[in-house]
């Protein structure tokens, strides 16, 4: 019994330690004085006001949202196609290819970043929206594939055979049978892709230029160059977006379980 209490106490401690550094930023963002003092000495919404009125911050937010949406679309389409091939076809080197697709989750971001940097210099993609979308898709793709593959696993391949016997072409079968059944996985994958892109910093630091920055890049710049608590407000907004999107993804996955 005491053992159980110790375990509970330990668990609470771990949870606390995991979340405190993240939550500390919330009160700081409401600080009345222009500093990162904790606890804050007074309360105000001025940093949020700063964020929402500053053209540079808003531009960075716009860039981030645009890149995240485009990344979610590209990564989802590519990821669904890759998952279909990986789960429905039989060919040599299939598991090798599967691992290849998931590699960006294991390969250090800095390695991909340096590779992309030298490639993008030549292709003139640095500081462009397509450049950001391409880079973010690389790291978002594994998340889409994992989610969609898990969904596809629950779909009986004989349903596709049944659809074919009933007169549906391969494409028709996909849109009327397979896709509706994997929608939860696809949705979750798309949301993960969005969040991955929205939070991405390592690749973005290499790809950005002064004319095109995403929100995490601007936060990083701001923190290293000044002590403007506006960053704290931005960080809280970013975190809120991520949390909401992840909760939505969780919900989508739960719906999938309820269906089967």
């Amino acid at each position: 019994m005491t053992m159980k209490r110790v375990l509970i106490a330990f668990s609470v401690l771990v949870i606390f330690l995991l979340i405190v550094p993240t939550l500390v930023i919330v009160p700081i963002s409401f600080n009345a004085s222009p500093s990162f003092d904790f606890p804050p000495k007074g309360w105000s919404l001025q940093w949020y006001e700063n964020f929402l009125t500053d053209r540079e911050w808003l531009k960075a937010l716009g860039n981030s949202v645009l890149v995240a949406i485009l990344t979610a679309i590209v990564a989802t389409v590519a990821g669904v196609l890759a998952s279909l091939g990986l789960s429905r076809l039989k060919f040599r080197g299939k598991s090798l290819l599967e691992n290849y697709f998931l590699a960006p989750m294991i390969v250090p971001g800095i390695v991909i970043a340096i590779g992309l940097y030298s490639l993008f210099i030549r292709l003139d993609l640095l500081g462009t929206i397509p450049g950001f979308v391409f880079a973010h898709t690389i790291v978002a793709l594994p998340l889409v594939i994992i989610n969609v593959m898990a969904s596809l696993q629950g779909v009986d391949p004989r349903l596709a055979q049944a659809a074919a016997s009933l007169g549906a072409s391969k494409a028709r079968t996909f849109f009327t049978v397979t896709l509706p059944l994997i929608v939860p996985g696809v949705t979750a994958g798309a949301l993960f892709a969005f969040v991955t892109s929205f939070d991405e910093i390592i690749l973005s630091l290499f790809i950005q230029d002064p004319s095109l920055q995403t929100l995490p890049v601007k936060i990083y710049r701001s923190v290293t160059q000044s002590t403007d608590p506006t960053v704290a407000a931005v960080a809280v907004v970013t975190m809120a977006v991520s949390v909401v999107v992840m909760l939505a993804a969780q919900l989508a996955t739960r719906k999938r379980k309820a269906l089967t």
């Binding site: 009986d156 659809a163 009933l166 007169g167 072409s169 049978v177 509706p180 059944l181 269906l259």
Partner: protein
């Protein structure tokens, strides 16, 4: 290999729908054109292994044909080739005279029923049944009429709004049947459709399938490993073994006149005596074999084979008390020991052993002499009831 369908060839001119293959004679071409489904030299290979090995099969239009065999015998692969789910490695495959070997599954206009029902889980029963009609771009009003009719036919009229997960296994399979039949395909393929259901439901659905077959008149091809199911449903049965068809015929033909020991043993129960052909003597069209000190006579003869087998059905055997003397030369008699006696209600079943260890099964009516385990007895049967077959040395494990 058994030639089938030849009796249907009339005096008509060879059709022109099969062309481009000059090696076919006119009779074959005619057979292909008149058949519901025709397989000629159809082979399916995975690597070097032939899963289906050069089979010929003619299924008549409107016929109920069952592909029967143990698992791995090639029956399901054959069905999948007809459906278009598996490529034909070699050979000619025609449905209603049309070559389909290169046609994708969705253009073959067949219906298919799967063992696991394969209903679309995200659609209601009605939406499932509407699916093939939508693919055919049928007008909405006509769709509604057809859906109602086919749900009526499978007695699911009240269940149209339910999702598959809300139905029992038997109801799901009937919904699948309705979906596969609603567009009146000329061919309906069924892959062990009752395999996942319990015995009572299975027997009831067998009757339903039989009734529906008579109602719609399509060609049904049914795959099963259950010989009783095959016997009760089919017009004809093709028995598969090791990728080949051993025999095609009606249930009566296969049960009473099997061509091979495999077919005889796979359908129903049987007792088999084996003897080297060197002990055989032929007289008056009958073959007599030596079994120990005794002799067994069977109609017919088989030349050029090493080992012979005599197959007798349990209901054709009787048990007599020791000392029984056969009434005439038309009766065989062998001494046996009774191992077990089982009361079946309609009669008794005895498992008996011959002096050389050969086991046999005897079924007797309730008014026959009774025996108990360990009793000595004489097993007798009319010479006409034995079937003389070639013994290829297959295992002794009994098939159900």
């Amino acid at each position: 290999m058994t030639e089938t369908g030849a009796q249907s060839v009339g005096a008509a001119e060879p059709g022109d729908r099969v062309s481009g293959d000059v090696s076919l004679d006119t009779r074959t071409i005619q057979q292909i054109n008149e058949a519901g489904i025709s397989l000629k030299g159809v082979t399916k290979r995975y690597g070097d292994k032939a899963v289906v090995d050069d089979i010929d099969l003619v299924i008549e239009p409107g016929e109920f044909m069952t592909l029967l065999g143990p698992s791995g015998s090639g029956k399901t692969t054959t069905l999948n080739m007809i459906a278009g789910f598996a490529d034909v490695t070699e050979g000619l495959l025609h449905i209603h005279g049309k070559p389909v070997a290169k046609l994708p599954a969705h253009k073959r206009d067949i219906g298919m029923v799967f063992q696991n029902y394969a209903l679309f889980p995200h659609m209601t029963v009605e939406e499932n049944v509407a699916y093939p009609l939508q693919r055919r771009k049928m007008p909405k009003a006509e769709q509604r009429k057809r859906i109602a009719e086919s749900l009526q036919m499978v007695r699911l009229a009240e269940y149209g709004g339910r999702y598959p997960a809300e139905l029992s296994g038997g109801q799901q399979q009937r919904a699948a049947l309705a979906r596969a039949l609603v567009y009146n395909p000329r061919v309906l393929l069924m892959d062990e459709p009752l395999g996942a259901l319990d015995k009572k439901l299975r027997e009831w659905l067998q009757m339903e399938i039989k009734r529906i077959h008579q109602e719609v008149g399509s060609t049904f091809v049914y795959v099963t490993h259950d010989q009783e199911e095959a016997l009760s449903l089919s017009d004809r049965i093709a028995v598969f073994n090791n990728g080949k068809i051993e025999q095609v015929g009606t249930g009566v033909e296969l049960y009473e006149h099997p061509d091979t020991l495999f077919v005889g043993r796979f359908l129903g129960e049987s007792s088999v005596l084996r003897a080297p052909s060197s002990t055989a003597t032929v007289r008056d069209g009958n073959t007599t074999l030596a079994v120990g000190d005794h002799h067994v006579t069977v109609p017919g003869e088989r030349r050029g084979v090493e080992s012979l087998a005599v197959l007798v059905r349990p209901e054709n055997l009787s048990l007599e008390l020791p000392g029984y003397v056969p009434a005439s030369s038309t009766e065989n008699a062998l001494p046996v020991t009774v191992k077990t006696a089982t009361y079946l209600g309609v009669g008794w079943r005895y498992d008996v052993v011959l002096f050389d260890g050969t086991s046999g099964i005897v079924r007797t009516p309730n008014d026959a002499t009774r025996f108990g385990p360990g009793d000595q007895a004489i097993v007798t049967w009319d010479v006409r009831h034995g079937v003389l077959l070639e013994d290829l040395g297959e295992g002794d494990e009994s098939t159900t």
